[in-house]
Every structure is written in C-alpha cells, then in structure tokens.
C-alpha cells in the first residue's frame, strides 16, 4: 500500500518539474529515490546539487524530482528531465540503473551519471563511494572506546554494501582488539526512525556500549545519547542529535565529484567512466572526532591519513571467513569485483548471515 501511495505521490510530484529553458545554461537534472528531507541518502545527494549551484552560479540551472520509486516511474521521470532539456542527469539510486540506460539510448547527447550501478554506456558514467574505508576507521575507534568489548550494529538489509561495511568495521576493531565482538540486528528497512530506535534500545539492553548503524535516521544515535552510550553518525554529521554521544560520522559527500563532473560537461571534456572514490577522493569524509580522548582521535586521524595515501587498505590479507577458510591470502588486496559481491562475514563475527 505504501509503495502504491509513494508511486502516486511521485506521479503528482513529477508534474511539478517544469522549468523554462535558458539558451546558454547547462541544465542539470537529479532523480532522488527518497524525499530530500530524509536527512540521509537523498538529502546528501541534494547537498551535492546545491554545491553545483554554488560553484557555477548562473552558468547552470538545476532541477530535481524526489521520491521517485525504483520501477517504471523512474524511466518516465528520467525521460521527462531529458525532454525538458537537461544536458546532464544524475540518477542517484541503484534501482535506476536500467531505466537510466534505456533513456540514455534515446538521448545520445545527454550525459548521464548513475550512482552505485555497474552498467555503463558511451553517455552513461557510474560512480560510488568507498564507505567501507570510513567503517574501518570507526571500527578502530569503537574497539578503543568500548568498555564491554562489544559493539552493536544496526543493519538495513543483508546486501553486499552493508556486509562489506560490517566486515570493514570488524577488521578495524580487530586491528585494535582481536577479541572484539559485535552484535548485529537487521531492521529490514533503510529508514524507519521508530524501528531504528527500538533496535538501538534492544542492543543497549543487551550490554553493548557502542552503536554503529547502516540505516539512515539519527534515531539510534539519539537513543545512545539518552542512555549515556556512544555511537557514530551515518551519511550526515549528526552531532546536533548527540552532542555527547557522537564520536564521528561517515559523511557521504558528493559535492566534489558533482562539481568536477559538471565542470567536465561545461568544458566539453566529459567521458564515460567508472568512479569508486573513498577518503582520498573526498567522496567519503569523517566528521570531527569528538567525545574521545586525544590519543584515540589521533590514532583515528592517522588511520584516515594512511588510507587516504594508500598505505593502508582495509581488506588486505590475511583475511579469514567466519568458518576459518582463508578468503584473502597474506599481503594480497581484495579486488573490487570480490568486494562488490561480498556475501560472507569475516572471522570473529558471531552471527549468522541471513540468506
């Protein structure tokens, strides 16, 4: 029912994008899967849009359609932007992949940027961010800050992106405390503040004292703050929700990438590429390290610097799977392909991966 409603809402909303076409302006279109008011995924993409406006002023004009569901609606929404004269279109959710390619075929002169997908074309680029690098950093902080030696982790869905994050978190934690434990609960939702808060409370009741989350709302952090526990923000700097509880946050920052790619279109140098940038490309940022002793903050900064300079790679062997099988041999870097399809836990995670 909710799906139906949001589709209807999207249909209503999509009538709202009628922009007058200016002759020499580049029109940049955005398709968001959620509302820009989610303070999570779509909110951050919209921040990227605002960065484009700030960087290029009246050389560009931006339009967006929010709450577009990943289905037939998406193709209509993307095509609508292309028809309205957009020269560059960002489609910002995995499920927009095939609709984006379909529309791209019909509009060869329009450039498309699709986020988190893997299919490209001459006028379709893909991009994503290595959030797991940030998760390695917060894993180390969690292990240094936890008194109980156990962290709680709220997952959304058991997909490779989330599993990779949990593994990176644990590898970071194990690099400090080899016996570190993590309790994982799945909210089976990206976005339900009440449920996320309930999950956080359940974890704290079971004796964890540090919370990490891979769901979008600030609710778990708010619970941590209230209970005197600590945790990490997700997608945005959430320090306002937990001034005493947030240690740092993994911030999705698309603005550098968006400004660069828009500039490329304006300069005529745009080419179809695949970008998977992390801390080094400033697509992943760490919020200020707060509420921790100076040595912990310094160690975290050092790790960030090492990852940024390429000296440290979170998925460097030897890495063992849960059952003890060697997954990555000593000194070898796990390649991107294996990381993108990750469906196993590293050793030390005391939990069954939902199949």
């Amino acid at each position: 029912m909710r799906k139906l409603l949001s589709m209807a809402a999207a249909a209503v909303l999509s009538f709202g994008v009628v922009g007058a076409e200016a002759a020499d302006k580049l029109k940049v279109g955005f398709i968001y899967v959620g509302p820009i008011g989610d303070y999570g995924w779509s909110y951050q993409h919209n921040q990227g849009r605002l960065a484009i406006e700030a960087a290029f002023g009246d050389k560009v004009e931006t339009v967006y359609i929010e709450s577009v569901s990943e289905g037939p609606d998406a193709e209509r929404a993307i095509e609508r932007l292309a028809r309205d004269g957009a020269g560059l279109i960002y489609s910002t959710s995995f499920g927009f992949m095939n609709p984006t390619l379909k529309v791209a075929k019909k509009f060869p002169d329009v450039k498309f940027e699709h986020s988190t997908g893997y299919k490209r074309a001459a006028n379709v680029s893909t991009y994503s961010a290595r959030f797991y690098e940030g998760r390695y950093v917060i894993g180390q902080i969690a292990a240094r800050m936890s008194k109980t030696g156990t962290a709680g982790y709220i997952g959304s869905f058991p997909i490779p992106e989330v599993i990779r994050g949990i593994n990176a978190f644990m590898l970071g934690a194990q690099s400090v405390d080899p016996d570190f434990k993590v309790k994982i609960v799945w909210a089976n939702s990206w976005y339900d503040p009440g449920k996320e808060a309930d999950a956080a409370k359940a974890l704290l009741d079971q004796g964890v004292d540090v919370l990490a989350q891979h769901t979008d709302s600030p609710a778990p952090l708010q619970v941590a703050e209230e209970r005197g526990a600590i945790g990490f923000g997700q997608a945005s700097d959430m320090i306002k929700f937990a001034p005493k509880g947030q240690l740092t946050a993994i911030v999705d920052d698309w603005s550098v990438y968006y400004v660069n790619r828009t500039k490329a279109v304006l300069d005529g140098t745009w080419e179809s590429t695949d970008t998977w940038g992390g801390l080094d490309a400033e697509m992943v940022l760490m919020a200020p390290f707060t509420n921790m002793p100076e040595d912990v903050a310094n160690a975290a900064k050092e790790t960030v610097e090492k990852i940024r300079s390429g000296k440290l790679h979170p998925f460097t062997g030897p890495i063992y799977k849960q059952d003890g099988e060697l997954a990555v041999a000593d000194g070898i870097l796990l390649d991107d392909q294996a990381m993108l399809g990750m469906n196993w836990y590293v050793k030390g995670i005391d939990d069954q991966l939902p199949q």
Partner: protein
C-alpha cells in the same frame, strides 16, 4: 536498569503511538465511518507537533498542536464525506496522500534539527522504586493518556447513553435517524475525536519516541493502527492487548536477533504482521463474534432525507 524492565519500557514506547491512533479510529468506525486517512493525520500531527514545540520551547504545546493538526484534517474529511457524501475509502486515501505531501512541505525547515523531548514523569519516591517505579510512574503524559483513553472509550461506548447513540448510528443509521438522533453530528464528533487521537499519535513520534522530524517518519504506523481496529473486533480492551502484543513482538524480535537466535531476521520482522493475519482469520471464522461487533453501517454514506 534490569533487562526485563527496560524491555517493558521499550514495548510501552512502541505500543503507545499505535494505541493512540487506533483508539480514535475505533470510535470513528463504531459510528459507521471508515477513515483510511489515519497515516496522513498522524504525519501532519508529527510535523506540526514538532514545529509547535520548536516555536514555543514546550513539548506540551507541541502535543496540543499535533492534536489540532489531526483534528483539522479530520474536519476536512468530515466535510467531504459527511456533508458532500464523498466516497469514504477514496477520501481517506486522498487524505493520507495530502497529509504526507503537506507534512513534507511544512517540515522542510525542520530536517536535521534535534527536537524537544516530552519529559517523563518523575514522582519523588515512586518513580525510583525498583522495577515498577520507572514502568508505572516514570512514563510521559501521553502514555497515561493513551491508557486513560482506552478505559474512557470502553466506558463511554458500553456504559453510557452517548455510547449507545454512537453504536446505534454505526449499526443502523436509518433507525437512529428515525429516533431523532442527528446522525451527521454524531459522526462529525466521532471523526474529530479520531483526528485528535491520530494527531497525538503523530506528535508522540516526533516528541517522545524519536524527538526529530524526518519525512515519512510514521513509516506505515497509521495502517497498522487501522489493522489493529479490525484485529480488536472493535473492542477497546482487545485493542489495548493488540497494540501491546504488536509492540512486544516488534521489540522482542530485535532481542532475539541480538541474542543470535538462528531464525531469519526477515521472518522475525514479518512476525507482527503474520500475527495480525492469523488473528484476522480466526475472528472472521467466528461468525457470531464478527456479527455482534462489526458496525453494520461501516463505510456507508448517510443522507438524512432519504
């Protein structure tokens, strides 16, 4: 804090918004009106509750704003369905769409701001008692209000003349009209009461459950409340049991997961919904139970001079 005590506290928090919204809708449906706009009234209640608290610095005034917001939308629903005799199902769905859109628009400025929490009661000597203290005497006002509403609605519906009139209007509006009862007025009042409760339920989300505003934060709870009304076969005390059962299953599945119980988490997440379906099947097989409690005129429009 002891384990069971804190679990119980969490269950109360999870059950309260459902109970608030559902007890209002129960009265609405008892009067023969089906308002599917609970989700829409809730979300507007949530955003205006948040806004009211931000503007005045008081969560209580926020709660009043939430109540008023729900009533405002309910009034619109009443005007369309009772006055203009529009289709109730379609109008209710439209109300939800309108509410979600309106709330997103009003709430744009509040995204990313921490909210003001509705304070928990603190009675010296009582709230600090072990176990029963925080559970019985340490809740916020809306929790007590939700329980009082259940008792009040139960009493009024089945022990007073007013309740008799509400049920008569819901069961046979033609006869009630012939007896001189103003069907439209009774239904208006019931719809407004339902709106107030749904608005408060939304306010509870943005002021007590998770004091923040984000778009779509009701996340389908209005629909669950609607299901609970049917689940309870329109009986307030069963509704209370249903809401707490629903809250408890939702919380306990997280505990089971954290304990490493080897049941797929997807199944645990679906469990509360599964429970609703099973109970629905059970009660709909019991003809007597259904016939006695279902308002016979539910969803049927009434035109006085017919």
């Amino acid at each position: 804090m002891g384990g069971y005590e804190s679990i119980l506290l969490t269950v109360i928090t999870a059950a309260t918004p459902l109970l608030l919204a559902a007890i209002g809708e129960l009265v609405v449906e008892r009067s023969g009106v089906l308002n599917l706009g609970v989700e829409g009234m809730m979300i507007v209640g949530a955003v205006l509750g948040f806004a009211g608290a931000q503007a005045t610095g008081s969560a209580y005034i926020g709660a009043l704003c939430a109540l008023g917001a729900g009533m405002g939308l309910a009034l619109l629903f009443g005007f369309l369905t009772l006055h203009l005799v529009a289709n109730q199902v379609a109008t209710g769905l439209a109300l939800t769409l309108l509410g979600l859109g309106l709330a997103g628009m009003i709430g744009e400025a509040f995204v990313g701001q921490p909210g003001i929490r509705l304070e928990r009661l603190h009675i010296p000597g009582l709230s600090t008692l072990p176990f029963i203290g925080p559970v019985l005497f340490g809740q916020d006002l809306l929790v007590y209000l939700s329980l009082a509403l259940v008792a009040g609605v139960s009493f009024v519906l089945f022990r007073t003349r007013a309740g008799l009139i509400i049920r008569a209007v819901g069961d046979n509006h033609g006869s009630a009209h012939a007896l001189g009862v103003s069907v439209i007025r009774v239904r208006y009042l019931a719809v407004l009461f339902g709106g107030a409760c749904a608005g408060l339920a939304g306010g509870y989300l943005s002021l007590a459950y998770t004091p923040q505003w984000v778009e779509g934060m009701t996340a389908g709870r209005g629909w669950i409340a609607l299901a609970l009304v049917v689940f309870s076969t329109w009986r307030p005390l069963r509704l209370l049991a249903g809401a707490y059962l629903f809250g408890a299953v939702g919380i306990l599945q997280f505990h089971a997961q954290a304990h490493g119980v080897a049941i797929p988490s997807q199944f645990l997440t679906a469990l509360p919904y599964l429970a609703t379906i099973i109970v629905l099947v059970m009660i709909s097989r019991n003809r007597v139970l259904t016939r006695i409690n279902t308002p016979a005129c539910l969803g049927q429009p009434f035109v006085p001079d017919r």
